[in-house]
């Protein structure tokens, strides 16, 4: 997708994809044939620029076709640059501005509670994203309202647009910050399936308030020259790099 469009965000798509795969395949109650099913679990990709990862899992699940992936960033295509609920089936929130998805997910969680529904609200945040102050407005409010049906997965890939998070804005003890805001917190390895599944169980079993998984991941996971490389937050591989990436990922180019 990113190579074809010669634009986009490969690094954060690769860091999140194991998490998305586990979430969609084992937890999320959705109906690909009925994407607007009112009582579905909600999933909000708040780091909406990492859309290629989301489009890939939506295609895998059957919300969209593999052919649709070619429409990424193309005029008229359902795969808009940032995930958009008005364009793409299976997308629950139009993201793109960082720091918005948790609030939306909180609204969806409140609605589920008012509906007396068991449905869950899942939000994926980027680690750079939590530098946005509005995330902490939402974090405080979700704990205040004891939203046990609100679940966050934080993609802790340690890199943001310009550089490593550590250089841009040190975040110190992230789990401690969420605990201090009243959240249930668990740290996992975001590329180890057993660890991810433990984490998803943790989210499912903690209903006494909002819960968060801090998923330690590697930006650009699986592609040697992208891994842990800030240059591939928002840059497309060239033809040669693309061939290498496909070979390393074991995918036919």
């Amino acid at each position: 997708m990113v190579h074809r469009a010669q634009a986009g965000h490969p690094g954060g798509s690769l860091s999140e994809i194991d998490l998305l795969t586990a979430l969609y395949k084992t937890q999320l109650r959705v109906k690909p044939e009925d994407p607007r099913w009112a009582d579905r679990d909600r999933f909000v990709l708040s780091k909406g620029h990492a859309s290629p990862g989301m489009y890939a899992i939506l295609a895998e699940m059957g919300f969209i076709s593999v052919e649709d992936l070619k429409s990424y960033r193309v005029k008229g295509g359902i795969c808009q640059g940032h995930v958009d609920m008005k364009w793409c089936p299976g997308v629950d929130f139009s993201a793109g501005s960082l720091g918005m998805g948790l609030s939306f997910g909180m609204g969806a969680a409140l609605a589920a509670r008012m509906d007396k529904s068991e449905r869950q609200s899942y939000v994926m945040l980027g680690d750079g994203e939590i530098q946005e102050g509005s995330v902490w407005e939402a974090a405080m409010a979700a704990a205040h309202h004891e939203l046990g049906n609100l679940n966050v997965i934080l993609d802790r890939n340690r890199i943001q647009n310009d550089d490593f998070c550590e250089a841009q804005m040190r975040m110190f003890d992230i789990p401690a910050k969420w605990r201090a805001f009243g959240w249930n917190v668990m740290e996992i390895d975001g590329h180890d399936m057993e660890s991810i599944l433990d984490g998803l169980n943790f989210l499912a079993s903690n209903n006494n308030g909002p819960s968060i998984l801090i998923a330690n991941t590697v930006k650009g996971k699986g592609v040697s020259y992208m891994e842990d490389n800030p240059a591939f937050h928002g840059a497309a591989p060239n033809d040669e790099q693309y061939a290498i990436a496909m070979a390393e990922l074991g995918v036919a180019a």
């Binding site: 909600r42 918005m100 609030s103 909180m106 969806a108 008012m114 509005s134 407005e137």
Partner: protein
């Protein structure tokens, strides 16, 4: 005399029979008057603390799940959440109804930090968003009730302080979103006003009549979508238009009417509004004097517009 914010609070109670109506607050429910709903229906009222950005998007999440959220705070503080309104509400076209109370310099002694003079302009630029600024508590109540059955987002400005009640015995249907109300007829000039300036315009009309000048006065409570048909009719009948608003002369009602007229003809237009400056602490009536928003200022503008007729 009554405050438009009281009409808002009353309307929320009117709407409470609809179980999908929910109210969002940001620690100013006592001021915006959503507190009456909160007291009656705490289970459908969401305190968002002093966090306007979160409030707007909690509203979006509720709207996307089938609820009808009414969120309110001071007009000025809604602006902090402008991008949330833009990207998280207007863009996905989620019917979140945002009410900004204490709009305009009429807000008074709190001073310039609390006197939003740009809210109508900024929200008017957003696709899908209806922008309202009613003149009295009765019309505020009617418009708020109507909002609950729309499918698009809205911004409505209400005022802190009391203004004359205009629609006490108005029949059902007098107030409709998108339709200006002709309060008085006259063929020499049309004064198109919103909010607290409607009462000022009515007083200006009396002063003009003393000079033998007959003015039409319109309550243009809906800034967007603008009632362009009515503006065209006024332009034809009166040949001169004055707009009057407790808002910057840039981008609000005056801006909307000017944009409309620029496409349809060369009708003289004079805009009465806040002349690209900030306010200060003073009583409401004193603020209107300081800002040039008195009936005498409207009269002056009317004479100027009439003088420019071809």
């Amino acid at each position: 005399m009554a405050a438009t914010r009281d009409g808002y609070g009353q309307a929320l109670l009117d709407l409470a029979a609809n179980p999908k109506v929910v109210v969002l607050e940001a620690d100013l429910g006592k001021s915006t008057k959503s507190l009456h709903f909160r007291k009656a229906h705490p289970e459908r009222t969401v305190s968002c603390g002093i966090g306007e950005q979160n409030m707007l998007l909690v509203g979006a999440g509720l709207a996307a799940s089938g609820y009808i959220p009414f969120a309110s705070t001071f007009a000025i503080f809604t602006e902090r959440a402008f991008e949330q309104m833009r990207n998280g509400v207007a863009r996905p076209n989620l019917a979140v109804h945002l009410c900004g109370s204490h709009g305009g310099t009429h807000t008074g002694t709190d001073g310039s930090s609390a006197q939003s003079i740009e809210d109508l302009a900024v929200y008017r630029t957003l696709p899908n968003v209806t922008v309202l600024h009613p003149a009295d508590d009765v019309s505020t109540r009617m418009l708020t009730v109507q909002l609950a059955s729309t499918t698009t987002p809205s911004y409505m400005r209400t005022a802190r302080n009391k203004t004359p009640v205009l629609y006490d015995d108005a029949p059902e249907g007098t107030i409709q979103i998108g339709k200006g109300v002709v309060l008085e007829h006259g063929d020499d000039v049309a004064i198109v006003a919103c909010g607290v300036m409607v009462a000022q315009a009515l007083e200006a009309r009396i002063l003009l009549a003393e000079q033998g000048i007959h003015a039409t006065v319109v309550d243009m409570h809906t800034i967007k979508p603008l009632d362009g048909n009515l503006v065209d009719t006024l332009a034809q009948r009166c040949g001169a238009i004055v707009t009057a608003e407790d808002h910057s002369i840039i981008g609000g009602l005056g801006g909307a009417v000017a944009e409309h007229l620029s496409a349809t003809g060369a009708t003289p237009l004079v805009r009465v509004g806040v002349k690209d400056r900030f306010g200060e602490s003073a009583q409401s009536d004193e603020m209107l004097e300081i800002m040039g928003l008195t009936p005498a200022d409207v009269v002056k503008a009317a004479l100027e517009a009439i003088a420019r007729k071809a």
